[in-house]
Subunit: 430 residues, 2 copies
C-alpha cells in the first residue's frame, strides 16, 4: 500500500464540477477512515478565472492552462466534467497516456470513442471510470460490470432521460399537450434552451450505447442506436394508452438476441403495472434482465449537480483504493465479443396505431384485412365515432417485424377511407 | 498479475449451492475473457455424498470432510451456502485464518458476528464478501460501499422479505385475510414449513442490520433491530389504508439521525405513489437516501436459487480479480464509527389507529382530546357506523414520539366507550 494523499485535477467548474467540489468537501472528514487515503483537489481547469474564483475556497487551485495539470506528476487523477467532444477527448487521451487515471461524466464522448479511450487506459494500466455518464447518480455501470457479472444479460431497458420523462408525466397526469409540457420543463430548468438532444432521444441513445456495450460485452456506439423522439406524442395517445392499461414512456431498449443486438430509443407503451411505468417526473430507472438474477431495476436521479457528483466521487474513491492497493486497471474494457447489430426493420415489435377513418360500414373490416394480409394480428381494438363523418380507430397489434408493419402502413396511406394515420407507437412485449 | 485458474470450494449443495454450481457452469466459456482467470470448483462439502452425486457432473469433487478443503492450499476461495450459525461460523473463521477468501450468503451469521468475521478477514488481508446475504440477487452492498461512497446516507428502507410481501400483496389485491394468504404462500413454496422468521420480521431484521452497518459506517447487529411482524394485519386495515391513499408493507427502516441510529422492521402504511408501494409479490426493493444522490432504489428478486447465485458469483468474480491483481482485502470493514442506537420508544412516527367504539355522541371528541392531551395531533380521520351500537374510528396521526402515543393507547384501554383497539400500525413520513 502507498500514497495517503491522492491529488486530483478537476476539468470544468460548471454545474457538475461545482457538485464534485462540494461532495469532496462534504467527505473531507471521513475520507481517510473510509478509504485509507485523502483525495485533494490540486487544480481546477476553468475558462474564466475570475468567475470561478467565487465558487472555491482557495482560488490558487484555479488555472486556465492544461499544461499545469498534464505536466504535474503529483496529480494522479483527472476528473473531466467539461462535456463535449473537444478538447475533452484530447485531455483525457493525454492524461491516460501520462499514466493518470480518469473519471468522466461525458456520455457524448464515451458513446462514440469509448473503445479508443478504454484501449488507451488499458495500455497504460490506468483506470477510466464513467459511472456518471449513464443515468446520473444511479449506480448502474458497477452493478453491470461486477455485481451481475455472473449473468448473461439479455435485456437492458430504461427511462434514461429526465427531461422527456418529466414532459410525458405532465402529459399523462395533467393532460397537457407536448408543447405546453415542454414549455413548463424549460421554465423549471429541466429542459435546455435547445432541447433537441433530449426530445429526439439522442441523449438517451448515447447512454443506451454505453450500457449495451457493458451489458452484452460487445461494443455498441451511438451510431448503432435507432432513435425516435417524443414530439409527435399527443395527450390523446396517452389517454387511449391508459384505456388499454398502458403508459407511454421514452424508453431506451437494448436486447441481446440470437440474431444480434437491438438498440433503440423511442416512445413505447408499457403496461401500467410494469415497474418502469411508475417512474415519474425527472427520475430515471434502468431495468435489467439476466439469466440468473431475473428482473432487476435501478432507480434514482438521472441528472443534476449533486446526483451526478455522487457518481463521480464514487468513481474517484474507487480509483483511490486502486492506487493504494496498486491494482489500477483492475477492471477495464469488458467488450470481448463482436456481436452484430440488428437493423430496425428486422426488429419485431407490437404497435399502437391510431387512425382517422370514414365513419361507414366495412372500414374496420378493411383495416383488419390489410393487417392480416401482412401477417399482422390484432391484440386490442377501440373504435369511436368522432363526428357524423369520421371515426377514430385505435389498434394494438401482436408482435410483427417492423418491415411487415410498415408495408401495412404504406397500404393504409393509399386507402381513401383512411383519412389520416395519427399515431404509430411501439408497444412493449412479445 | 498471477493465477489463471482460481480453485474454489463450495460448502453446501442445497438450493443456493446448486444455483452457484449452475451459474459457474453457465459462465465457464466466458470467464477467461471476462476476468482474465478461470474459476473452477475443486471441492463441494456435502452431508450426503450419494444424494449430492446426482446433482454434479463429476462426483469426485464431493466430500463430507472439511479437512479436505481447509488443508488444501490450492483452494483459495470458500463459498459458504450451508446457512445457520454452526458449523458455518467455524468454517469461515478457519478459512479466513488460513488466508482463503470467503463468499457467504449467510445473513444470520453476518448480522450477528459480522465484526469478528470481518476483523479476521482484515487481519489476513482476505476478502469476505456477502452481497447475497441481503436482498438476494439485488446489487446493494457494492452500491452502498462503492458507488454511493461519496454520500452521507441518511436512510435505507426496504421491502427485504419476499414471503411477507407476497402475503401482503395477496391481501391487498385479492382481499385475502392473513391466514389464507400465508397458506397460499406455503403452497407455492414462498413460505417455509415454519414461517416464523419471515412473518415476525426476523429475516428482514438481519438484512437491515447488515445494510445499516454499511450505509452508516457503524456496526448494527440483529439484537439492535426492533422487529414486529405482519400476523396481526387484516384485510380491513389494508382497505382503510387504501381509502387514505396508502398501501401496507413490511418495511425495514434504518435512519441515521442526529440523536442516533434507528433500526426497525414493522408493517407500515406508505403512500401508494411511493416507489416501494409498487413492489409486488415476492419482489424486494431497497430505497436509499444520500445527501448527494438524493433518492435511489434497487429492485429485484430477494431470494431463490438463481438470483442468490447471481450475487454470489458476482462476489466470487470480484475476489478472482483481486487475486489476479494481488489486491485482496481492497475493501474490507467500513464501520469506522460508533454511533448510538435509539430505543424504539424514542423514535418518532405517525400512526394508523383503528378502534371499535360505542356509537354515541361525543366519542370521537373524547378520542381526539386524549390524543391532544398527549401531544398527538390528528392528520386524517374516518368514522363509520358498524351496527346500531358500535362504530369504527380510524385515525392517522401526525408524527409523535412512540412513548407519547403509547400513553394515549393506555388511556384508551381504560375508557368504557372504547370497546376494542383493533389495529395500531406505523405510517411513513414526518
Amino acid at each position: 500500500m502507498e500514497k495517503k494523499t491522492i491529488q486530483v485535477a478537476l476539468l470544468g467548474l460548471g454545474t457538475v464540477g461545482t457538485g464534485v467540489y462540494k461532495v469532496l468537501q462534504n467527505q473531507r472528514e471521513e475520507m481517510l477512515s473510509k478509504l485509507g487515503a485523502e483525495v485533494e483537489i490540486k487544480r481546477i481547469l476553468v475558462r474564466n478565472l475570475e468567475k470561478a474564483a467565487k465558487k472555491v475556497e482557495d482560488d490558487s487551485v484555479l488555472t486556465n492552462r492544461w499544461e499545469d495539470i498534464i505536466h504535474d506528476d503529483a496529480i494522479s487523477v483527472v476528473i473531466e466534467v467539461m462535456g463535449g467532444m473537444e478538447p475533452a477527448r484530447t485531455y483525457i487521451m493525454e492524461a491516460l497516456a501520462a499514466g493518470k487515471h480518469v473519471v468522466t461524466a461525458n456520455k457524448d464522448l464515451i458513446a462514440v470513442d469509448g473503445k479508443e479511450l478504454l484501449d488507451m487506459a488499458g495500455t497504460h494500466h490506468s483506470d477510466l471510470l464513467f459511472e456518471a455518464a449513464v443515468a446520473g447518480g444511479i449506480p448502474i455501470i458497477r452493478p453491470l460490470k461486477q455485481c451481475l457479472a455472473g449473468n448473461h444479460i439479455t435485456e437492458v431497458m430504461g427511462i434514461i432521460n429526465g427531461t422527456t420523462n418529466f414532459i410525458l408525466t405532465k402529459m399523462t397526469e395533467e393532460g397537457m399537450e407536448f408543447e405546453e409540457a415542454l414549455a413548463l420543463a424549460t421554465e423549471l430548468g429541466y429542459a435546455e434552451a435547445d432541447p433537441t438532444a433530449d426530445i429526439e432521444g439522442y441523449d438517451a441513445g448515447r447512454k443506451l450505447a454505453i450500457m449495451a456495450s457493458i451489458a452484452f460485452n460487445s461494443r455498441v456506439t451511438f451510431d448503432d442506436v435507432y432513435t425516435e423522439g417524443i414530439a409527435k406524442i399527443t395527450a390523446k395517445d396517452i389517454k387511449y394508452a391508459r384505456e388499454m392499461g398502458c403508459d407511454i414512456k421514452l424508453l431506451g431498449v437494448a436486447r441481446n438476441t440470437d440474431t444480434g443486438i437491438e438498440v433503440r430509443v423511442h416512445p413505447m407503451l408499457i403496461p401500467s403495472a410494469h415497474p418502469l411505468a411508475s417512474v415519474k417526473d425527472a427520475f430515471n430507472a434502468v431495468f435489467v434482465h439476466g439469466d440468473a438474477v431475473g428482473d432487476t431495476m435501478f432507480y434514482g436521479s438521472g441528472a443534476g449537480e449533486m446526483p451526478t457528483a455522487s457518481a463521480i466521487v464514487g468513481d474517484v474513491f474507487d480509483i483511490a483504493r486502486n492506487i493504494r492497493y496498486q491494482c489500477s486497471g483492475r477492471i477495464s474494457c469488458t467488450c470481448y465479443k463482436e456481436l452484430p447489430i440488428k437493423q430496425i426493420g428486422d426488429i419485431r415489435s407490437r404497435y399502437f396505431l391510431r387512425m382517422q377513418v370514414d365513419d361507414k360500414p366495412g372500414v374496420l373490416a378493411s383495416v383488419a384485412s390489410v393487417l392480416a394480409n401482412n401477417s399482422v394480428s390484432i391484440a386490442q381494438v377501440i373504435q369511436k365515432a368522432k363526428s357524423s363523418e369520421t371515426a377514430e380507430i385505435v389498434v394494438i397489434t401482436d408482435s410483427v417485424e417492423e418491415r411487415h408493419f410498415n408495408d401495412s402502413l404504406a397500404i393504409f396511406q393509399g386507402m381513401s377511407v383512411i383519412r389520416k394515420i395519427s399515431s404509430v407507437i411501439r408497444v412493449y412485449g412479445e
